[in-house]
Amino acid sequence: MFESLTEKLGQALRNLRGVGTLSEENMAEALKEVRSALLSADVHFKVAREFVERVQQQAVGQQVTKGIAPGQQVIKIIHDELVRLLGEGTTALSGERPLKVLMVGLHGSGKTTSTAKLGKLLKKRGYRPFVVACDVYRPAAIDQLEILAKQEELGFYADRVSKDVPAIGSAALAEAQAATADCIIFDTAGRLQIDQDLIEEVKRLRARVQPDEVLLVADGALGQEAVNVAKAFHDALQLTGLVLTKMDGDARGGAALSIKTITGVPIKFVGTGEKTADFEPFHPDRLASRILGM
C-alpha cells in the first residue's frame, strides 16, 4: 500500500551519515518526505507545512547522538512532536452531573452510532444515560437511535411530530430529569458547515440545553475538508472534543491532526467498528504512527 515513511526517510537521510549536527540543509530532503507522508495521510496542506516547520526548528542544531542512526533520531523527533500535539488535553469528559453531551457533525460521520456507543460506555462507568433523538430530517433516524437505545437499555426520548429541535431538547431534559438520568446525550442531524439554517438550528439547541460537552463526530477518512468543517463547527458551537470514527479501516487519519490543530480541542474517543462496543478512549501514540505510515 503506502511505502512506509521509515523506508522513504531512510533514503532521504542517507546524507546525514557522518554528519555531526542536524541542520536545515542536511534535513531538507528528509523533511520533504515527512511533508509528503503527512499529505498522503490527508493532513491539511497548511497544517502539514506548519508541522514540518516546527519539527525543523526543533531539530536544527541538535547534535547527532553517537550510536543512533541520524535518521532514527529525526524520526523520533517527528513522532514525539506528533504525539505531543495529538495528545494535548484530556480524554476525560466533564465531571458535571447531570452530564449533557451534544453530538454534531457532517452527514453519515457516525453521530447516531457514537451516541449509543458513548451511552453504553458511560453506563459501564456507572452513569444512568439517556439519549435524545434530535435528527428530525433523515428518514428513520429516530428509529435508528431508538433501536440502539433499546438494545443497550438506555433512556430514550423522541418526538415524532415536532420539527422544533430546541423545543425537543428542552422536553428531553425534563423527561430525563424525571427519569433521574445523570447523563443526557443529544444526537443531531448531519449538516454541512455552510448550511446556515441548520447551523443556526443546532446553535439554538446548544443555547437551550447548555451542554457540558460538544463533540464533533468526524470520519477518520475525511480529507482536506476537515479544516473547513472543524473551523465552522468550532466557531458556531465551541466544541469541547472530537470523536474520530471508522478507524477500524485503513484510513491514515490525518484529518484528526488538521482538526486538532485548527480547534485545539482534545480528541476524546475513537470508533473502531459498527458494534456499540467498538469505542475507545483516544491513544495519541497509535494515531501518530498511523499518520506517519510507520
Binding site: 428518514p139 433501536i147 480529507g223 475538508e225 485503513d250 491514515r252
Partner: protein, 293 residues
C-alpha cells in the same frame, strides 16, 4: 522564469487549491509540472491562464469518465443476456460502499430519477444489518412512491436480493436497485457477503448485477482510492457515484480513482433531497474546480 514573484505566488495558490480539492500528491504534482513547463515556454502566463492549463490537464486525465446509464444495455436486456425481449429481465444496479457514504439515499434518488424518466423501478432493501436501515429505505419508498422489496433486520441479504429480482422480473420492471449495508473494504467477511449477493443474483440472470457502483463520500480524502481498489477487486465495480458535493468538498479523490481504475463516474450527489442527483459532467466538474466558466 520571468516575472518570478507573480508566478511563484500564483503557482503556490494553485498548488494549495489542488491539495485542498483532495487531488493528492501525485495528481497535484503532475498538474503543477505541466503548468511549470508552460511557464518555461511563455513567461507572461498569469494565474488565470495557469488555471486554464490545470483544467486542461484534468480534463485530459478525466477523458472518458462520464458514465451514461441510458447507453447500451439500459432499459432493455443486460449486455450479453440471451433472454428474448418478451420476457424482459430487470437491469440490476447495486449500490455498495463504506459506512455512511450515501448508498441508501442514492438508491432512493436514483429510483426517483428513473421513475421521472418513465422507467419502472423496484428497490431492494439488502442492508439487513444496520439499525433501521430497512426502515430508512422504506420511508424513502413511501415518500417517493417507489416499489420496494424488504425483509427484516437480521435477514439474509442475499435472499432479499433474490426475492427482489424475482418480484421485479414478474412485474416486468425495468430496473432493480439494490441497497447494501455499509462495510469497510478491509473486512473480508463483509466483502464475502457482497460476493454472495452477486452469486445469488446471478442464479436469476448470469449478467446481474449489470451495474456495480461504488458510492464514494466526496468529503473523504485519499482513503477513497483504497476503498475503490478493494471493492473493485472483490466485487468488480462498473462505476462510481460521488456524494455530498453540495458543500465545499471538491471530491478530488475520484480523480485518483479514475486514474487507477478507469471506472466511469455516473452521478454526483448534491444534497439530501430526491432531486439532488446530477449526471457527472467532466466539463462542469473541472470548470467549477478551477473557477472557470
Amino acid at each position: 522564469f520571468g516575472g518570478r514573484k507573480i508566478d511563484a505566488a500564483s503557482l503556490e495558490e494553485l498548488e494549495e487549491a489542488l491539495y485542498a480539492a483532495d487531488f493528492g500528491v501525485e495528481t497535484t504534482e503532475e498538474i503543477l509540472a505541466e503548468i511549470k513547463a508552460a511557464y518555461a515556454k511563455d513567461k507572461t502566463l498569469q494565474g488565470q491562464a495557469a488555471a486554464a492549463i490545470g483544467a486542461a490537464v484534468l480534463k485530459r486525465v478525466l477523458a472518458g469518465s462520464e458514465g451514461a446509464l441510458d447507453g447500451a444495455g439500459a432499459g432493455g436486456p443486460g449486455p450479453g443476456s440471451a433472454s428474448p425481449a418478451t420476457s424482459k429481465e430487470p437491469i440490476v444496479i447495486a449500490m455498495i460502499g463504506v459506512n455512511g457514504s450515501g448508498k441508501t439515499t442514492t438508491a432512493a434518488k436514483l429510483g426517483w430519477r428513473l421513475k421521472e424518466d418513465g422507467k419502472t423501478v423496484t428497490l431492494a432493501a439488502c442492508d439487513t444489518f444496520r439499525a433501521a436501515a430497512v426502515e430508512q429505505l422504506k420511508t424513502w419508498a413511501t415518500r417517493l412512491d417507489l416499489e420496494i422489496v424488504a425483509s427484516h433486520t437480521g435477514a439474509d441479504s442475499a435472499a432479499v436480493a433474490f426475492d427482489a429480482w424475482q418480484a421485479a422480473k414478474s412485474r416486468g420492471r425495468d430496473y432493480l436497485i439494490v441497497d447494501t449495508a455499509g462495510r469497510l473494504h478491509t473486512k473480508h467477511n463483509l466483502m464475502e457477503e457482497l460476493a454472495k449477493i452477486r452469486r445469488v443474483l446471478q442464479k436469476n440472470d448470469p449478467t446481474a448485477p449489470q451495474h456495480r457502483w461504488l458510492v464514494v463520500d466526496g468529503s473523504l480524502g485519499s482513503n477513497s482510492i483504497e476503498q475503490a481498489r478493494a471493492f473493485h477487486k472483490s466485487f468488480g465495480l462498473t462505476g462510481l457515484v460521488v456524494t455530498k458535493l453540495d458543500g465545499t468538498s471538491r471530491g478530488g479523490a475520484i480523480v485518483g480513482i479514475y486514474r487507477q481504475l478507469k471506472l466511469p463516474i455516473y452521478f454526483l450527489g448534491l444534497g439530501e433531497q430526491a432531486e439532488d442527483l446530477q449526471p457527472f459532467s467532466v466539463e462542469n466538474y473541472v470548470n467549477a474546480l478551477f473557477g472557470l466558466d
